[in-house]
Symmetry: C2
Subunit: 276 residues, 2 copies
C-alpha cells in the first residue's frame, strides 16, 4: 500500500492511499478519514460510495462529512467508483466504463477482466482496511450518493449483520427498470435479466429487507429524478414493513450541495446505530 | 449579468453568475451564497477571496462555509482570482497571470490592460452586488486563503469603516519580502518598490492598522510557511497594539482541509462583528 497524501483535518487525518487490487487487476486508490480517537484505539467505520464520474476524491473534498465524523469519532472510507488506467476498458459515455462501475462484478467481455467492484468493495478493501488501520470491524455503516446510493443499499442488504445502518442520497433505487441500470447491466452482466436482480435495491428490499435503520434523502428538484425511481424503493419498503425514512427535500437537486446540506443528519443517524 | 447555476444549499441558494467587467475588460464569474433569510430582507455579506490557481469555485465547493453562513444568516461572495479568457495575458508559472491576480491594479504591460483586480473587488463587484442582491452594505466582513488572505487584509485596511472584521487562512503576510510577492509585484507594478507598499499587509498594519477585530489562522505544517511570513504580520500587529489573534494550528498544512477545519470559527468570529 502506498501513501499518496495525508492532511490534518478536523483534528484527525484525511489520507489517500493506493494498492494493487486482485479483484480489479489494477492499482486502486481510496481516501480514508481517521478521527483523532483512532490514535488511541479502533473506531467505527462509515463507508461512503460515490456516484457516476466520481473518483475517491469528490466526496472527500466536497461533502463536508469529516466535520461530523470527527465530532462523532467515526472513520470514513471513500473508495473509487471503478478500475482505471491503461488497459482498462472504457466507453465514451459518462455512465459506462471508468467512473461507472455500478458496484457489480461484470461477467461480460470486455468488462469482466477488471470491473469487479462488488468484490473489491465488499471483500478485498475491507480486509485491507481492517488489517491496516485502527478500525472496528463490528461497527460498520454505509452510505452513498446516486450510483453510490445504489451500491450502499444493495451491499447493505446482501451482507446481513455486517452494517448497523444504511443511508443514501438520491440513490438509484430500481436500476433494472431505469436507463441508469439497464444500459450498464446489459453491458456488464449480459442480456439475461435474471442475473440483474441481485443488484437492484427495490428487488432486494422485497426479498430480504435490511435488519437495521434506513435513511433516504431525495431532492424534489433533482434533474435525474425519473432515473432514480425512489418511489419503487419506498413501495418495496412499505410492502415489507421495513423500518426507515424516505424523505423528499424541497428544492434540492442532484449536486453535492444537496449532499453537504444533509450529511450532518446522516452522520448523526449512523452514529446512533454505531454507538448503540 | 448571467445566471450560470443556482443550487439549493443549506436552505438557501448557492448561485454562480457572470457579467462583463469594466475593470478587467473581460467576462468575470463569481459565486454567491444567499441564506434563507435573504428571501425576507437584506443580509450581511462575507467576502471570501481565494488563493493562487483558484477560480470562484474552489472555496464554494470545498470550504464548507455555507453550512455556517446559513446558520448565522450571512451571505458569502466568492470572486474569481484574476481575469481570464482569450486575449488575457498569461504566464506558464502557476503563480503569475491567470489565477494569480494578487488583488492589485497592474501598471505594467502586458498586465495593465486586464489585471485590475483591486478595482474589480473593491469597487465594481460591490456595486453590482448591492444593486442586484438583498445584501446589507453596512454589514460587510472579509476573509481569504493564502493570496486571498493577502487580499482580505490589504483591502480591509485600505477601506477604513467598510469591513466590520477581517480574518485570513494562511495569508501571504509580507509579499514585498517574499518570492510570493516580489516576483508578481515586479511584473504587475514594476521595479519601483515604493509602489508595492500599498499592497503589503505588514506595511499597512504598521501604517494604518484595522479598526476592528482580526483573526489569523496558520498551520504549523504548512509547506509554504517560509513564503507566507506570518511572523512579519504578528510583529507589526504587536508593535501597533492592534487587537486581534494570530493562531498557529498544530499539524495543519496549506490545503482546503485546513480551511474547512477552521471555517466554522471564522464565520462565528465575523458573525459576532456583523450582528454586534
Amino acid at each position: 500500500m502506498k501513501t499518496i497524501s495525508e492532511n490534518r483535518a478536523f483534528g484527525g487525518v484525511q489520507g489517500v492511499y493506493s494498492h494493487p487490487s486482485e479483484a480489479t487487476g489494477t492499482e486502486m486508490t481510496f481516501g480514508l478519514f481517521l478521527p483523532e480517537g483512532a490514535e488511541d484505539g479502533r473506531v467505527p467505520l462509515l463507508w461512503y460510495l460515490s456516484g457516476l464520474t466520481c473518483t475517491h476524491e469528490n466526496a472527500m473534498v466536497k461533502s463536508g462529512v469529516q466535520r461530523w465524523a470527527a465530532e462523532a469519532g467515526i472513520a470514513v472510507v471513500f473508495p473509487d467508483t471503478s478500475p482505471r488506467g491503461e488497459g482498462v476498458p472504457d466507453n465514451p459515455a459518462y455512465d459506462l466504463g471508468q467512473g461507472a462501475g455500478f458496484y457489480v462484478n461484470a461477467t461480460q467481455a470486455p468488462w469482466n477482466t477488471h470491473f469487479r467492484m462488488w468484490d473489491y468493495v465488499t471483500d478485498e478493501l475491507p480486509r485491507l482496511l481492517f488489517n491496516t488501520f485502527p478500525l472496528a470491524e463490528p461497527a460498520q455503516a454505509i452510505t452513498g450518493h446516486s450510483m453510490g446510493g445504489h451500491g450502499a443499499l444493495t451491499i447493505a442488504m446482501s451482507f446481513p449483520g455486517r452494517f448497523r445502518s444504511v443511508s443514501a442520497f438520491a440513490p438509484i433505487c430500481n436500476p433494472t427498470a431505469s436507463e441508469w441500470g439497464r444500459k450498464q447491466f446489459t453491458a456488464y452482466l449480459g442480456a439475461d435479466e435474471t442475473q440483474w436482480a441481485a443488484y437492484d435495491a427495490s428487488s432486494l428490499m422485497k426479498k430480504r429487507g435490511f435488519d437495521g435503520p434506513i435513511l433516504i434523502d431525495q431532492g424534489t428538484s433533482d434533474q435525474f429524478l425519473d432515473l432514480l425511481k425512489p418511489e419503487s424503493l419506498a413501495t418495496s419498503m412499505s410492502e415489507r414493513r421495513q423500518s426507515g425514512s424516505c424523505r423528499m427535500q424541497k428544492g434540492y437537486d442532484h449536486s453535492y450541495f444537496f449532499v453537504s446540506t444533509f450529511i450532518e443528519e446522516h452522520v448523526a443517524f449512523h452514529a446512533a446505530a454505531l454507538f448503540a
